[in-house]
Symmetry: C2
Subunit: 314 residues, 2 copies
């Protein structure tokens, strides 16, 4: 499998990406080719310095970089030689099987949606995050910010996309799906949640277990937790702040609270597009890069995008 | 001042209410009369057992109780001799200055809105919660569940109500107000947040500091944090679950994480109605009851309801 890694994305580019590859190589899976996309003059010396050379490592020179504050659509159009634009071109033409970047999030989303495109039958792609459960397992929360305003039908699609992610990537058989709401009983909630409940209940492609509340994110009530992107984004950032607070209080090494560190899940997969795309945090560390590469290998190996396409076939 | 306490509300009624009064009496403020509303046959023996008798303690017999699962409007109408119905009657007629109950939340809200009524100019009352800040201070989050779907004008009203609460009850001078959103920049957000931003910006009765994100609930970015009741309820319950998780991991005694325990803030004030009404958690402990009585004394002493009425005068 061929994984493209944007070496120019992230606050500590390209150093942390290089170190992330080094970490990945040390516990590596066979048959994984990594394509480093970026400014060779910056990347190659670091690869040498960190002794990461391998026959599975390849380089694709990209002389341009899309900055954090550039307008996504405009930048992608004008900077055809940027690492992100080249990455999407290679992904679209089949030379890559997955693309990872911790660069401009907007450009990554625009690239995913307009170069790779949504799977047929999917109205809007979504982004998901991993949630640590206090019993040691892991859940999926989606949407975490791509779709601030949602229709019930969209949440119903997220439920299926999240279920497939939980199954393929987290290895959860028949994952349970919960609708994030303000009460447990059917009929509770805002207009969106009230209208979504019956759709999830009737969806026989998922295992819907009913409403879940704010206290259930870290409990074992549901593996897949579905909400609009406004709520999900607030929850995601609040969950990340739990790690920061734990750190400030000196308890970040606790085996549960340590799991709130973003670098453990690495990045945010874009679900519902035809090929694996993973977006990293701007502050991505070596460990985050390593974990993003691992997620990409799983997405490719399990053929998750084809499974999504099959699930959404009429 | 005269504070009415529903002795029959809460999972551990009337014991924890009695113990709460005992705690309150031990660090008490002068001139506070507490009116115990409930079944005298159940309450009086406990008052004796716990040695809580005082000239400031009074009893009002209420032979009926509204259960947790009763329909609020129906129960209030049919059970005129219930502790909640009697409490609202006394509050409405001026015999009480504040009412506290850990009983049926719906009945408390219906009573607050239809017996006490909203202050003129306020479209919908709101419920607020206290948030511990990592720097040791305290913030207010609202709405936390009364209004699942909101219009921008409503959030603008919540901002002012929350500011007055922060000023009067938390003692924060010119509290800062933040709009909960998915990004910092103006223009970010769902339709509601986008439309609310300019209203808050133009509201010269509050000190608006812009958007805040999920990571800012416990930071010093904003004293008053405004959102719709769906988002706020999810955040409130998630914050409460942080305490539960800390407890499971044995770090609940941490001086910061311990502040996430609901009993520290005691209860949820109903803001925007003409008199102080405080709703407690079903699981309210003695400490929670004590703290609710303290909040009630502050609401009465600072005349917060009159201040709200003045602020909303055209």
């Amino acid at each position: 499998m061929n994984i493209g890694l944007d070496m120019m994305g992230g606050d500590f580019a390209p150093l942390e990406a290089v170190k992330g590859i080094q970490l990945f190589m040390s516990d590596t899976v066979a048959n994984v080719n990594i394509f480093c996309i970026g400014d060779e003059a910056l990347v190659q010396p670091l690869i040498k310095e960190y002794n990461v050379s391998s026959p599975n490592l390849h380089f694709i020179h990209a002389p341009e970089v899309i900055g954090y504050h550039e307008h996504p659509t405009k930048a992608l159009k004008e900077k055809q030689q940027s690492s992100i634009a080249i990455g999407f071109h290679l992904l679209a033409t089949g030379k890559l099987d997955a693309l990872i970047s911790a660069g401009n999030t907007g450009a990554m989303l625009v690239g995913a949606m307009f170069t790779i495109k949504a799977i047929e039958g999917i109205s809007r792609p979504t982004i998901a995050t991993i949630m640590p459960k206090i019993n040691g397992s892991t859940g999926v929360l989606l949407d975490v910010g791509l779709n601030a305003d949602c229709k019930p039908e969209l949440l119903n699609q997220f439920a299926l996309l999240g279920s497939l992610y939980a199954e393929c990537i987290l290895g959860i058989q028949k994952p349970s799906v919960g609708l994030i709401n303000v009460g447990e009983e059917e009929g509770k909630g805002n207009i969106l949640a009230q209208a979504t409940y019956p759709l999830l209940k009737e969806n026989n492609k998922i295992r819907f277990v009913g409403n879940i509340e704010g206290r259930d994110f870290f409990s074992d009530k549901a593996d897949v937790m579905v909400c609009d992107g406004f709520t999900g984004n607030v929850v995601l950032k609040m969950a990340e702040s739990i790690y920061d607070m734990a750190q400030q209080r000196g308890i970040e090494t606790d085996s549960f609270f340590s799991r709130f560190h973003y670098e453990n899940y690495g990045g945010t997969p874009v679900l519902g597009v035809a090929k694996p795309v993973i977006i990293g945090h701007g502050i991505s560390s070596a460990k985050a890069f390593k974990n993003m590469i691992h997620v990409a290998t799983k997405m490719i190996a399990t053929n998750i995008c084809s499974k999504m396409a099959d699930s959404f076939k009429a």
